[in-house]
């Protein structure tokens, strides 16, 4: 017996939702970025599952580019967090309000 495509997609949906909840609930900017990484991973899983079940390698090429973009996003995001921490000494997103004033 083989695992059906729907199980992979359901796992992707579940992980995406957990990532969304992390973005909505967490106050630490670093954990927020980690939740975004989890959401990207869930989408990657969906892409790889479709690619393998439909016999088309292009989906996996897209996943490779998505991983490259995720790496760039993590680097820039963490640099912004460091820059904010140097000025405000906090990574609490409820206290970061640069655009408010």
């Amino acid at each position: 017996m083989e695992v059906a495509l729907n199980w992979y997609l359901a796992l992707g949906a579940l992980l995406f939702t957990i990532g969304t909840l992390g973005v909505l609930f967490k106050r630490n900017a670093i954990v927020l970025l980690m939740s975004i990484e989890l959401m990207l991973n869930a989408v990657n899983l969906t892409l790889v599952a479709f690619s393998q079940f439909m016999g088309d390698a292009d989906g996996q090429i897209l996943v490779l580019f998505s991983i490259a973009v995720a790496a760039a996003e993590a680097a820039v995001g963490l640099a912004i967090v460091i820059a904010i921490f140097r000025g405000k000494s906090t990574v609490d997103i409820t206290e970061i309000n640069l655009f408010k004033h």
Binding site: M1, E2, V3, N6, W7, Y8, L9, A10, L11, A13, L15, T17, I18, T20, L21, G22, L24, F25, K26, R27, N28, I30, V31, L33, M34, S35, E37, L38, N41, N44, L45, V48, A49, S51, Q52, F53, M54, G55, A57, Q60, I61, L64, F65, I67, A68, V69, A71, A72, E73, A75, V76, L78, A79, I80, I82, A83, F85, R86, K88, V91
Partner: protein
Amino acid sequence: MASPFLFFLLAALAIVASIGMLVARSPVSSALWLVLTMFSLSGIYLTLNATFIGVIQILVYAGAIMVLFLFVIMLLNLSALPQLGDLDGTKILGFILGVAILAQLLYVLALGFDLPIAPVTPAMAAEGGDAGTLGKALFTRYALHLEIAGILLLAATIGAVMLAQRRFQ
């Protein structure tokens, strides 16, 4: 494509680890839970016969990105912020929103779709996830895209160094 037992074990591990990331108090334990999620996802890629993506997942996500996160946590010397504490209206609204997204996604899955799924044999699937197949496509048809991704990574590196030196008031 693989034994169902292995898939469900890894899927349960991934879900438990990501929930662990959600409820962990300190950012370090959140990061370590996320590393476990990355590893089980890599195993799931292997059950899909996507061997190259599975290895890249460990190398890039668990190896590079999560180490970057842990380094930043270490540099900033953070204390655990109070989180998931007081249950105010925003939190309840957020939870309802998350459950609504999940229900929507699972509803679409339960409807079932009419995709022309090709009958892929295990040998074809193993070839599709092979480094040789992906590399051939990446360096011929997608060569320009690969160059652009390289420039993006260079720009991100320079941008990250420039940003980390700055000080926002």
